[in-house]
Symmetry: C2
Subunit: 358 residues, 2 copies
DNA sequence: CGCAAAATTTCAAACGTTTGCATTTTTGGG
DNA sequence: CCCAAAAATGCAAACGTTTGAAATTTTGCG
């Protein structure tokens, strides 16, 4: 099988014939021991030398590092991890409770993930991504945290797993969650004040002249529920109605549902608060197709301020979450927790970005 | 420090006082040995039992599994991996050659990543994500593959690292790359026939009445270069001009550059081929802002067929890459390579999705 | 030079599994 | 009941590093 070079485990080691390597590992310097033999020192010294430990003589250290480089030596992380009881890997779990598909390719998640990758890389950590289906695997959380494969965990979105996350938080310190904050909760969460965001959105719609509101989105996940609740606060105070229009996040159902809502509640609302920019964009399209002017007939406010938000026409008025800052905070808090600290949650303020749709 | 429960390594083990656990690990059953003691069998038997090995008596097996469950026992993957010389993890590397930022949050990458996560999960593999900056770290590829942390590698995008990838492919089998295919290349690649895609785009623009074309995008990365080349093929054959308008993928520079191109080449073209849907959407917006009708004055074709493509108005005519199929193929080929097979590259046909902009 | 202190290196025991082989127990046919 | 074969279990050596502690070498000062 030419071209195939297995990382060959070597066979039973017969008493070595001097400095010559066994036939199995043709000259390859695979282990720290190989390197030690080559350098004429012990494995321990090589280990320390590669780690830059000043315990070993500067000259020796340099020589060994040089040798390692020239032989393309790679430290076996697995072994190193086992011995040191840490991995340099942070797990990122995305629980897919309701909306199985799409959630991960939703602009928001992806943007957050990108920023997380940046932040973690910068601090020398790798990122292990795992999508979990809680209904298939009850034990997803302790499974991930207890696997020994990750030093800590970032959970993106609470989905419908609030309770399980709470339980895990009691005995697993290095975990930080992106999501909604609830009075007195145990787990450390980073997120936007969704309720306040909902208020801002509703206020804006009303200020723009809306008198009958509609909320487009799935009010099941906590974050969305809070947004909805915020809007309800304001609607109640202002004495305007608000209609819940369940809308999923996957593309096809979403367009179908939006069309349905627009059709069956034709005159039912003149202001839409979309749970997500993704939904808002779809609404904009549907409204245009239905010949309803935005913001003339219907006002529209989104949530997130994803890149697309500024690319529609008219550009989307929306509630901004600072995703980059969120990612930074998640990683920062996790690092502190890895250091044994018991950190508080961080709730960031949302900000209204007034553009063309309301 | 209440609430903090380290995975406590236990102290020096004094001769055990019977079945009672040492004070250090308060009742926790952490290792397979703990479990073995509890079950009154040897560690080996426990290991086999947990693995479902039929060598151990069915009754014993069930009993041990039950015990493991009830004590929330988690196998230490690190140790298991070390011993078995495999990890169950596939590395996904995203080299960021040119366009450092945004690339990862670009809709295309993210969608691909989402599908990869799905496919890998389904086959019982985890996904380790690593963004690499080749200019900072010459050795990124062998570093990743040789770390012992991953069983195989998927590289997303060749960036400007074609040569390095070629070199790695010579000695590292389990690697598959998303990108462009070049005659006689060594590494196994999955991707779309970008050149053909470019042709389809240009043909469509011309069929829609365009007489002077423009290409918006960075022609540096191979994939984009091929798209451009394809468009050039057709333009030359049809005797129409084609203007290269360098455009980056990051949001702010992108909008700036597009505005600039539209302004300084006001009458220079009446058909735009955008290297990416993301760019196309921005173009659409800019054209509208400039008061130029699409497809009346200017025809527009994108590339990728991202979800947004159908959400603009008019909806985007674009060249579709089947991202889900791509992800499936990447994983499939990688699995075959993990099995020792030496697989061929896969070049998928692009497809024109005719919508409203050309 | 001699000798203690400092600097450097080696030794060997972990880290928690897996697995070939040896050993013990069970089974079943005579 | 006996004894070989089959089934089940135990033993111990890996996997490749890291790291106290012990052992060795070098240094520096009188």
């Amino acid at each position: 099988m030419p071209g195939i070079v297995p990382r060959g485990r070597r066979g039973p080691e017969v008493a070595g014939t001097g400095e010559d390597d066994s036939v199995w590992a043709e000259g390859q310097v695979r282990t720290i021991t190989d390197l030690a033999r080559l350098a004429g020192v012990s494995a321990g010294t090589v280990s320390r030398a590669l780690a830059g430990n000043t315990l070993v003589n500067a000259r020796t250290r340099e020589r060994i590092q040089q040798l390692a480089r020239s032989h393309g030596f790679q430290l076996n992380q697995m072994a190193s991890n086992l011995r040191r009881q840490k991995t340099g890997v942070v797990g990122v779990a995305i629980p897919l409770g309701h909306d199985r598909r799409q959630q991960i390719s939703d602009g928001f998640f992806m943007t957050l993930l990108g920023h997380l990758a940046d932040e973690l890389t910068q601090r020398g950590y790798d990122l292990m991504l795992r999508r979990v289906l809680p209904e298939r695997d009850e034990d997803w959380l302790s499974r991930f945290s207890g696997s020994g494969m990750v030093d800590g965990l970032i959970v993106i979105g609470q989905s419908d797993q609030f309770e399980r996350i709470e339980a895990a938080a009691a005995e697993y310190l290095p975990m930080v969650v992106w999501g909604n904050h609830q009075e007195g909760q145990r787990h450390c969460v980073v997120g936007t004040d969704n309720r306040l965001g909902g208020r801002l959105a509703a206020e804006r719609l009303i200020a723009a002249g809306a008198t009958r509101l509609a909320f487009f989105g799935d009010a099941e996940p906590m974050e969305f529920a809070a947004r909805f609740a915020g809007a309800c606060d304001v609607a109640a105070r202002a004495g305007v109605s608000i209609l819940a229009c369940p809308t999923s996040l996957s593309v096809e159902p979403m367009t179908r549902e939006i069309a349905h809502h627009l059709h069956s509640n034709a005159g039912g609302f003149d202001g839409i608060f979309a749970a997500t920019d993704t939904i808002a964009v779809a609404c904009l399209k549907a409204l245009r197709d239905a010949g309803r002017a935005v913001p003339g007939h219907v006002r529209l406010v989104g949530f997130d301020d994803l890149p697309i938000a500024s690319q529609t026409s008219p550009p989307l008025t929306t509630i901004r979450q600072d995703i980059a800052a969120g990612a930074r905070a998640l990683v920062d808090l996790l690092m502190r927790r890895l250091g044994g600290e018991n950190t508080e949650s961080l709730v960031m303020p949302p900000r209204l970005i007034a553009r063309g749709t309301a």
